[in-house]
Subunit: 193 residues, 6 copies
C-alpha cells in the first residue's frame, strides 16, 4: 500500500512506489511500461450472494496510478444481481455499460432519486459522495466499467456499514424505527464474515 | 457550454453574493461587519421525533461564508435523542461537545467502527465522507457544535436516503435481506413528509 | 475586474447549467435523471484519413458533468488506424480496450517512451499532460474507452498544433532541422481545413 | 510532528502517523477511537501578560487530524484581555463565542476594518490570511472556540513578528516612522523570551 | 443561495472576461494575442514617501491572467527605499533582482527571521502568507520583479493595516505596549489619506 | 530529488528536504536564509545548436521551493536563436523579457495561434499545458525570465519528444504524412545524444 500520494496536483510525471519503502518513488528511469498497464479485469471477479462481482482497480492493486488521481472498477451482475446502495467518499464515478440492462440511480442530498434503466454503450454519472445503486433488470449477465477521479475513491456499502459494524443497537432502533429483534436479524445477515 | 471557471484557490479576500444576481460578488466596499457575523444559533432548532434538533450554518443561511471554505452546525439532543447515521459528501467534521454526554462514532471504509462516549469540552473528528452518528446517553440535554471544511458540506441521512427515496423495492429487499412487507414498513416510516 | 471565485472544491451535489445563462445552475429540483445519462457513444464517430474516429464526452456535450470533474471519450480505429501523438493539458487518461489490439504508449518529460500492445480488457494510464499515441496493430476494428479526471480535459494534436497553426516558418525550420520546402509540405498536409 | 500531510484531497479515510516514522500512516486496522478524540481543551491554557490564553488543537497535538484538513483552538480572555492582531497563513477561521462579550474584527486588503462586539452563541468568520484581533470588553471571563480549514493553519502575531524578530532597525524606523529609541523600546517589549 | 461552483482546477485553456459581464468568458475565438501580453511595467510606478514604487500586475490590470493562477509585480527602490513589512494572503512570491542590492527577508511562524542582502540576478522565495520586507542598501536605484502563484495574491501592509485601519485604540495599546499618545502618533502617520 | 511535495495546499511554512532522506523536512529551526536564496542564474546556461540556453530553477536545483508551488527559468537566445515548440504539463508560465526582441507565442486547443514580437520589459502569459515557442528576432542577444506556478512544471520539447523517443515509425509516418526516409532523417537529427 502506498502512503505518499497527493491528489490533485502532483509534482512529477508519475511516481511508482518503491518496493523497499512505500513512501518514495522508484527512480523514474527504472519505471517500465508494465507499471502503467493493468490486465486484471479481463474476467469477472467472484460473485457474492446478491449476484454481484466487482474488481476495484485502485492504487493498491495498480501502483502506477499513484499520484495520477484516477482509478477504475469492473462490476458484473447475474440476472437480478444487485450492487447494494453505497457511495465513494472521495470520488465522482462515471459508469459505462459494457453489457446488459441495468437499473441504475443515485439519491441527492435533498433525498431526490435519479434512476432509470441504462443499456450497453450508455453512460451514467454519480456525483461525488452521493449514494447510488444498480440492479441487473435484463435477462442475461450485465457488466459495467466504472471510472473514478481519485486513485483510491473508497467504498462504503450502506447495509454492512450501518447494520454490520456494531453501531449501538438502541441508536439503530431509533434511527430506523425497528424493534430489537428486527435489528438483530439485520445485523446477523449484514455483518461481514 | 459552461463558463464557470476558477483559480484552484479563492481569488478574493471574500465574496458576498449580490442580491440582484447570485453569480457576482457585492463590491467589497459595500460589505459590512454584519456580513461576517451570524447570530442564529444561540438557541436550539426544532426537535424531531428522534429527539434531535439541528441548525446548519452553511453558505445558504450565512452568505458571508461564500468562497471561504468553512461552515458550522449546532445540534441539540434530548435525553436519548439520536442523530441518525449520516455523512457529509464534501467535508470533514470536527465536533465539539458544548454540553452533555454523547455516544459518538463513525465507520470507516473497512467497516470498522470507532465510537465512544464524549463529554463537555471534548472533540471528535469525523473524516471526510464517512458515515457517523450520535446519541445522548446522559441524563440531561446535550449540545454539539460541528465545524466543516466546506461552505456547503451536504448531508445524507442514511435512513431517509435509502428507505425514503423510492429506490426500487426489489433492490432494497435484496440489499438488506428484508421482505416486501418489511421494506414497506420502513418506507412508510422513513419517507420525509 | 473578474468576479468568478470559488471554493477549492465543488460546493454542490451537481450543477446543471441553465439554458438561459451558462453561469448559473438549474434549480436542483428541476434536474432529471436524463441530465446524468449520456447515450451518444453507442456507435463510432466519423473516421478521419488516418483511420481514426473519436467522440469526446465532455461537459460541452454532456452538461451533467459540470463541476463533477470527470469526462469520457470513445475512440475507434480501422485496421492500421492511428491516434496521432497528442496530449490533454488538464487531465490524466485511463484507457480501457473495448475491442482489438492497440499499440499504445506515452513519452515522459525525460524523453523516455513507455509503449506496448494492449488488448481487449486491458487498461493503460497516460499521466496528466504527457504526449501519448495509439495505433491499431490487429487485423480487425479496435475500440477504446478513455476516462479523464477533468470535465474538459482539452486536446492538443501535435501534428496540427505545430504544423497547422501558422507558427513562423523559420522557427519550425530551426526547431525540426527541416527545409523551407519540407515545412511547406507538412503545413499543407496538416493544416485543418 | 507529522511531515507527510496533504490538504485538501487525501487518498485515505485517515492517516494516523506511526511512532516509528512520521512519514507513514499507521495500518488503519491499528487505529482506535482514541486517535480521533481530543480531551485537552476542557480548561483554559496559561494566561499571558495581555490577559489571554490559547490552546491550538492542530495536527501536532492531535495527530488524528493528519490529512483531514481541519483543526481547532480554544482562546480564553480575562476582563480586558487581548488577542493581539495576528493572522493564519493557511486558513479561514470561524470563531464561536462560548462565553462573554468580545470586540472582534479583521482588516481586509483594502485596509477596511470589519469589527463589532459579539456575544455568547454568536459566530464571526475571519477570511483566510487576513489580520484579525479580539478583546474581552465584558465584565467577566470570555472564551472562544476557533475552527480552521487546515490541520496546521499557522499563526503570525504581528507585534512579535515585526518588532521581536530582528528585522533591521533602520527598515522598521522608516516603515513605521519611529525613532531609533522608540523601535528599541518596542523590540525590548515584544521579543519573545 | 450562491451558485458560483467550479471544478477544483481550471476547465478552459483560458477565460478572458467579457466587457458586458464580468462573470462570463469572452468566446475564445475572439481572444487575441494582445489579451496575453502586458506592457505596463517597462517603467517604475510612482514613488511613495519611503522611496518605494510598485506596480502590481494582477488580474485586475491584466485580465488575460484570469483562471491562470499567476501574477507579477514590479518594485523599484530609491537609495535607502523601503518596502514595508507586508504579506500576500493568497500566494508564495519569488523575487528576482533586476538591478541593485537589496536587504530582503521574511519571518516564519516561529518568529525566526531569514534575511540577507541579495544582488542583481539573485532570487529569493517568500513562502505563502509569511511577513516579508525589503530595503535598498546599495548606492543606486534597485528594482525587483516578483512573481506570484495566484492571479490576485492580495497585499496587507502591516503598518497601515494595523495602525491605519481604526482598530480600537485600547487593543493596540495593550498589543504593542504603547501609550495612548504613541498610538495616536502612529495612527496619524500611517492612516492612508 | 525531492519526493515529498504537495501543490497547492502545503501544511507547513516551508519544508526543506533533509539530506538523509528526501521524504522528510529539515527541522525548521535548522533552515537558514541560504535555503531560500538562489544565485545560479546570474549568467546564461550552455547554448545548444539552435542558439538557445536555458537554466531551469525548479525544486531539484533549489530545494527551498519544496511545497511552495513556484519555480523559475532563465532563457537566453543568440541572434535568431530558437526555443523550440514545447509545453509544461504542470504549470502556467509568465515570461518577462529581460533583454531583446522575441517572437513569442502559443497555440490553444482549437489550434489557434497567439503570437507577436515582445520587447524588454514586456510580459506574455502561456496558459497551463499549451504548446508555446520563442525566437530572437532582434539583432542582439535576448534573455527571458520565466515563472511557473509549480515547483516542478516539467518540460516536453515537441521535436525530441515526438521524433527522438522511438515512437513506432509507421505511426509517425501516418501521423505526419511523411515517408520512411523523412522520418529517419528527423529521428537522426532530433534524438538526444
Amino acid at each position: 500500500m502506498v502512503t505518499l500520494a497527493s491528489d490533485p496536483d502532483p509534482v512529477f510525471d508519475f511516481c511508482i512506489p518503491t518496493t523497499i519503502s512505500e513512501t518514495t518513488c522508484k527512480n523514474s528511469s527504472l519505471a517500465t511500461v508494465e507499471d502503467f498497464v493493468f490486465s486484471g479485469i479481463k474476467h469477472p471477479g467472484k460473485f457474492t450472494e446478491t449476484g454481484f462481482a466487482s474488481i476495484p482497480v485502485n492504487v493498491k492493486v495498480f501502483p502506477g496510478l499513484n499520484t495520477l488521481g484516477m482509478s477504475l472498477a469492473r462490476a458484473d451482475f447475474e440476472v437480478g444481481g444487485v450492487n447494494v446502495p453505497h457511495f465513494h467518499p472521495r470520488a465522482t464515478e462515471v459508469a459505462y455499460v459494457l453489457e446488459g440492462k441495468i437499473y441504475s440511480g443515485f439519491v441527492d442530498t435533498q433525498n431526490k432519486i435519479f434512476a432509470k434503466v441504462i443499456e450497453r454503450g450508455e453512460v451514467m454519472v454519480f456525483p461525488r459522495g452521493l449514494v447510488h445503486f444498480q440492479m441487473n433488470v435484463g435477462d442475461s449477465r450485465a457488466t459495467i466499467l466504472g471510472s473514478f477521479d481519485s486513485e483510491n475513491p473508497g467504498l462504503m456499502k450502506i447495509p454492512s456499514a450501518v447494520f454490520g459494524s456494531e453501531i449501538k443497537e438502541e441508536l439503530l432502533e431509533k434511527a430506523f424505527g425497528l424493534s430489537s429483534e428486527e435489528i438483530a436479524k439485520l445485523r446477523k445477515k449484514l455483518t461481514p464474515h
